[in-house]
């Protein structure tokens, strides 16, 4: 049997891996003004989880394709209408929630799984979750060579297109990766608080960064650290894990805000 410490370390490792991926994509999400996407996809994941429960399958394996489809749908509808991103995301958000509620209403017994996904649960983290988050982190590292392209099109889509970038393909890839990230993270921190993982570390990093490279680095640093610190607090004080991590992130955000007001920016040559 695993010792308590071994279980705790597994949870922390899993959380830090997820925090790493989420805060990396977060830099692009925040700078592209897509913060709402994380929220929308988290709720799409809820629809997928509910469908999984209804079908008697492992929710994660149903939620994954479900959320990826929602991400593709959001991109597709944006491309084929002139609607603003938040309107399109809002539509898929509502659709997934409505479906999720209907699916759950057809489940004869009360499901603990649904609560797990809504609010996150450390106890739900097993060896499988650890492997999945490790795979996600490896996938994220594998996209590092794309950083100069993603950063370029984040800054100026038109210039990136002129310089031969396939913007549309990039958009799809990025939102699929974010969707996968969201689903994997949902079990740990819960759908309700999930978008914080994508948004707060990057937003905090933005406050003190003078370059996008620095913003990306700091975002990842804040993302990983706040998971470790948040989980330690949650473990010590016996408080919900997701909430502790998010509060840690917000504390760091406040710190960055103070540094920003103190005129601090990195790199300092400005």
């Amino acid at each position: 049997m695993d010792s308590m410490l071994a279980i705790f370390l597994r949870i922390v490792a899993c959380g830090m891996l997820i925090g790493f991926s989420a805060s990396y994509y977060g830099a692009f999400v925040v700078q592209r003004g897509m913060s709402f996407l994380g929220n929308g996809l988290a709720h799409a994941a809820f629809g997928g989880v509910a469908l999984g429960i209804l079908l008697g399958q492992e929710p994660l394996y149903v939620a994954l394709p479900f959320t990826v489809l929602a991400a593709l749908g959001i991109n597709w509808l944006r491309e084929h209408t002139k609607l603003a991103a938040d309107s399109v995301i809002g539509l898929f958000f509502a659709l997934s929630m409505a479906l999720g509620i209907i699916f759950l209403s057809r489940v004869p017994t009360y499901s603990q799984d649904a609560m797990t996904y809504l609010f996150g649960s450390l106890l739900s983290v097993g060896v499988t979750e650890l492997w999945i988050s490790a795979a996600l982190a490896v996938l994220t590292v594998a996209t590092f060579p794309l950083w100069p392209r993603w950063a370029y099109s984040t800054f100026d889509r038109e210039s990136a297109r002129i310089d031969g970038q396939r913007i549309r393909r990039e958009d799809y890839l990025l939102s699929v990766l974010i969707a996968v990230n969201v689903v994997v993270a949902a079990k740990l921190v819960g759908i309700v608080l999930l978008s914080a993982f994508l948004v707060i570390p990057a937003a905090a990093a933005r406050l003190v960064s003078a370059s996008f490279a620095m913003m990306t680095t700091l975002s990842v640093g804040i993302g990983v650290f706040s998971v470790a610190a948040g989980f330690a607090i949650s473990y010590q004080a016996d408080l919900p894990s997701g909430a502790c991590v998010v509060l840690t992130q917000i504390l760091l955000f406040a710190l960055m805000f103070a540094l920003n007001k103190g005129g601090i920016k990195w790199p300092r040559e400005i």
Partner: protein
């Protein structure tokens, strides 16, 4: 250099460009002039491969827009479309033009090249300034430096005078004149400002969805053609202008396109 043949672009029922043909030789300074909605930006987008073409053909530097040789082209977008909230310095922006990708870090040699380009447009001292801390005119120049750093054969600008004051505008035209005359760079500039076009550009293209005139700028932008393109407003301002106040005298009243 540039050859456009029977270019037609439609948006649903609306025909933005109708059978437009013209050619441009290397070293010319072309103004693309026309009222709002006349298809100027659409033409530019076609040249840069950003806009699907319904019929006709374009050859720029011997290539079709699908395989645009972008390293040989400098593009200066409209200042108002730029994202100022992006964390970046002037230098990084210029380097992005050199690399055609966003830089993670900048080695000294590249930094030096970027600063040289910034000096060329008179803002070497702004190299480390954050984009969010630049004025509109300064940002315009950073973009110009970015385009020039590529040592382009063709420079493409969309409404470069929008949103900058008369002095900054004069400075910008001085730079463009120099780049065109001394370095032999071909320039294609979209503008409302036909007075500036007459003054600075060797050639002009007058558009109102159809091509009204093209060729050397003074005959192409003569009063009769201007009246055709802009209606009576072109006439009102055709005489007695002074170029130092282009926005007081040079912007004909337009109904919404």
């Amino acid at each position: 250099m540039l050859k456009v043949e029977s270019l037609t672009v439609r948006f649903g029922k609306l025909t933005a460009l109708d059978n437009v043909s013209f050619a441009l030789q290397g070293g010319e300074f072309l103004a693309v002039v026309g009222p709002n909605g006349s298809g100027k930006s659409t033409l530019l987008k076609c040249l840069l491969g950003l806009q699907r073409i319904d019929s006709g053909s374009i050859s720029l530097l011997g290539h079709s827009p699908e395989d645009l040789p972008s390293s040989r082209i400098g593009y200066v977008p409209q200042v108002k479309t730029l994202d100022r909230s992006f964390p970046a310095s002037s230098c990084e922006l210029v380097v992005s033009g050199l690399r055609r990708r966003w830089p993670w870090r900048i080695p000294p040699a590249e930094h030096e090249r970027a600063e040289a380009a910034l000096r060329q447009v008179g803002i070497g001292h702004l190299s480390h300034r954050a984009l969010s801390a630049l004025s509109g005119g300064e940002l315009q120049r950073v973009y110009l430096a970015r385009a020039l750093a590529r040592e382009p054969e063709v420079l493409v600008l969309d409404e470069p005078a929008t949103g900058i004051d008369a002095t900054a505008e004069q400075d910008m035209y001085d730079i463009l004149d120099r780049v065109n005359r001394e370095m032999g760079v071909t320039i294609i500039m979209v503008t409302h400002d036909w007075l500036a076009a007459r003054h600075h550009c060797s050639h002009a293209l007058l558009l109102k969805n159809v091509l009204i005139a093209s060729g050397p700028s003074l005959p192409a932008l003569n009063d009769a053609n201007m009246a055709l393109a802009f209606g009576h407003a072109g006439h009102d301002h055709a005489h007695g202008h002074s170029h130092s106040h282009p926005h007081e005298s040079g912007q004909p009243e337009q109904p919404d396109g």
